[in-house]
């Protein structure tokens, strides 16, 4: 893992890279800074939450047109959600009642939890937490 001193690129670029990785794959930012256990936990928890929501409400709950506020929270989970939204727009997937509410709550919360993980990963990368305890963590 590159540390501040031997990193071949600028620190700001590194922070942006961590944020992008954390958004692309839940837990990706923590994986990049060497906090592997955190990464596995975040990935499992966020993907599990999102999939439960999708299972409850069907993929029709990812609606970039009819349910924009929910979609804004859902897309924070990963850019892949944009692709799911495209599929949902093309097909005619039934969405109604309580399953829709529950599904939207689950998927939107998965996105908001990933936002927390993105901020946490960037903060850890900024303060060098992953660098100082990353090795120690591997043996813990």
């Amino acid at each position: 893992m590159p540390t501040k001193s031997n990193r071949p690129f600028d620190h700001t670029f590194w922070l942006c890279l961590v944020a992008a990785a954390a958004w692309a794959v839940p837990g990706g930012g923590h994986f990049l800074i060497g906090q592997r256990r955190h990464a596995y936990v975040f990935f499992a928890a966020i993907v599990f939450t999102f999939l439960i929501g999708l299972y409850i409400g069907s993929i029709g709950i990812v609606d970039p047109v009819g349910a924009k506020p929910w979609y804004l929270a859902q897309i924070l989970t990963s850019p892949v959600i944009g692709w799911i939204g495209q599929i949902a727009q093309k097909g005619d997937y039934p969405v109604y009642g309580r399953p829709q509410d529950y599904g939207q709550i689950y998927t939107a919360l998965a996105g908001l939890m990933n936002l927390l993980c993105i901020l946490n990963a960037v903060y850890r990368a900024y303060s060098g937490i992953g660098e100082t305890i990353g090795q120690e963590e591997e043996h813990g």
Partner: protein, 83 residues
């Protein structure tokens, strides 16, 4: 087993039936568990599995207890207002 996977996949294309019964409130517990897991993981600088599981369990029980209490208080309020 062979039928299980397509059935599971098909589940993503049609909503699950959730009735308007008190049992439907049980759906909040998986969500509370994920919130507890993610929140605790962000709080711990170093993640030791045993300590982590214990802390998640405590937070999950606290959140669940609070939600049940909030539900009871709201039900009581509605009962007082409507009776």
């Amino acid at each position: 087993m062979a039928e299980g996977f397509p059935m599971l996949l098909a589940g993503f294309f049609a909503p699950v039936e959730i009735g308007t019964t008190p049992l439907s409130l049980l759906w909040m517990f998986p969500l509370l568990l994920s919130i507890a897991v993610v929140y605790k993981a962000t709080r711990l600088r170093v993640l030791f599995w045993k300590q982590f599981v214990l802390e998640v369990l405590v937070l999950f029980l606290t959140l669940s207890g609070f939600m049940i209490l909030a539900g009871m208080v709201l039900n009581l309020l509605v009962w007082l207002i409507t009776s």
